[in-house]
Amino acid sequence: MTHILLLDDEANILTALRRLLRDEGWQVDTFTDAESAIDALQSTAYSVIVSDYKMPVMDGVTFLQFARQRQPDAIRLMLSGHGDRQSMINAINRAEIYRFLSKPWEEYEIQAAIRSAVDLYQVTLENRQLLDQVKRQNDLLRQREEELLRLEHDNPGITRVRRDQDGSIVINDVL
């Protein structure tokens, strides 16, 4: 199940976003304060985290920085009515966000951005799994090689035993 976290101090923003994401089949969790969103980060692994920029108590950049520490794999997006340069710079440099979305938004912008964030998350995850698999298989290979080397060291020639078609050991008497 793909989990999405949305944080904005304005509840109506959250319901409007939830409506846009209704048909995607994702589990969408919405929060109006950063504290409860942080609590949710302890218990649920999110694919995508979207936060408002300007909020009371904790701003969006601080929240996303925190989210990045907690769930570094989750893709972070920022949604803001503040199009000023400094807030964008902070969001990119400090929270390392994937997209900066502005209010008001177009339906397709939100859907496309979150969809591609979900894709990115899945590709990253898949990549990591494949990498793990390659590593595991490499380890296995190395172990086998080492075992062969050890056997050869203890019993020279043992790794070069030849068998014929019936599986019988061919002993070469020419030494």
């Binding site: 304005e10 109506n12 923003i13 319901t15 409007a16 976003l17 409506r19 846009l20 300007k54 909020m55 009371p56 108590v57 009515g81 503040h82 000023d84 502005s102 209010k103 008001p104 938004w105 177009e106 339906e107 939100i110």
Partner: protein, 286 residues
Amino acid sequence: MADTPSNMPEDLPPQELSARLQQANRQLHQSEKMAAIGQLAAGVAHEINNPVGYVYSNLQTLEHYLSDLFRLTDAVERADSLEDLHQIRKSIDYEFLRGDLEDLLAESREGIERVKTIIAAMKDFTHTEEEEFRYADLHRGIETTLNVVNNELKYRAQVVRDFGDLPEIRCIISQLNQVIMNLLVNAAHAIENTGTITIRTRHEGDHVTLEFEDTGKGIDPADLSRIFDPFFTTKPVGKGTGLGLSLSFNIIEKHHGQITAASTPGQGTLFRIRLPIEQPGAVSDE
């Protein structure tokens, strides 16, 4: 240096000089007002972008909901059986749509109401056409101004209203609004993390008093005597014009009132404004 313009003030008769001074003063006042409004505009844009954001988004959703509903109503004509209609009704998740449509409309209406309030407050606040003394309700002026500066305040301070019973006073309310705005914005800027701004209003005989008290960082005693001087500011370059309080002082003086400040560094600042209910010399007809 030698090429002194022919119309240097020294050459002018006193009446002309004083007229010019008055004009310069008006221009200064106007430019401070514009600067203040410009500063606010960015904040107000954010205030408006939130409701506009979700109302706009909801309209796009509404379009989809309607096209779903039309699929159903159009099918009434064409459907072969009731079963088909039930099928469509089920496929569009009719129950959800119905419930959510109501919420969607209620929320969107709320959003538009908010935009309306902000615009009305901006208009109320500026009252550019009004330059005459009229009876006005100071509480309404305070509420209007709070609406305009809400964006500056809401992330920093809790506003406590300790309002007494105030009579309407004879004043130029747009100018007093500007004083109130200066004091509120200054109070918000003085608060470093979060704090409280208390607005107190009282009626005493033929005067009213307004107090604006914040729990901010306070004003250095050395600076306190200079805060009403033109161009005095402790804000970084570009952040403050240094004119806000000096013009506030002028406005209160013009209203035959007094504005004073008391401050304890580290604890906060209290601005007190005393205003007469009637202006001396004004005929109280209307």
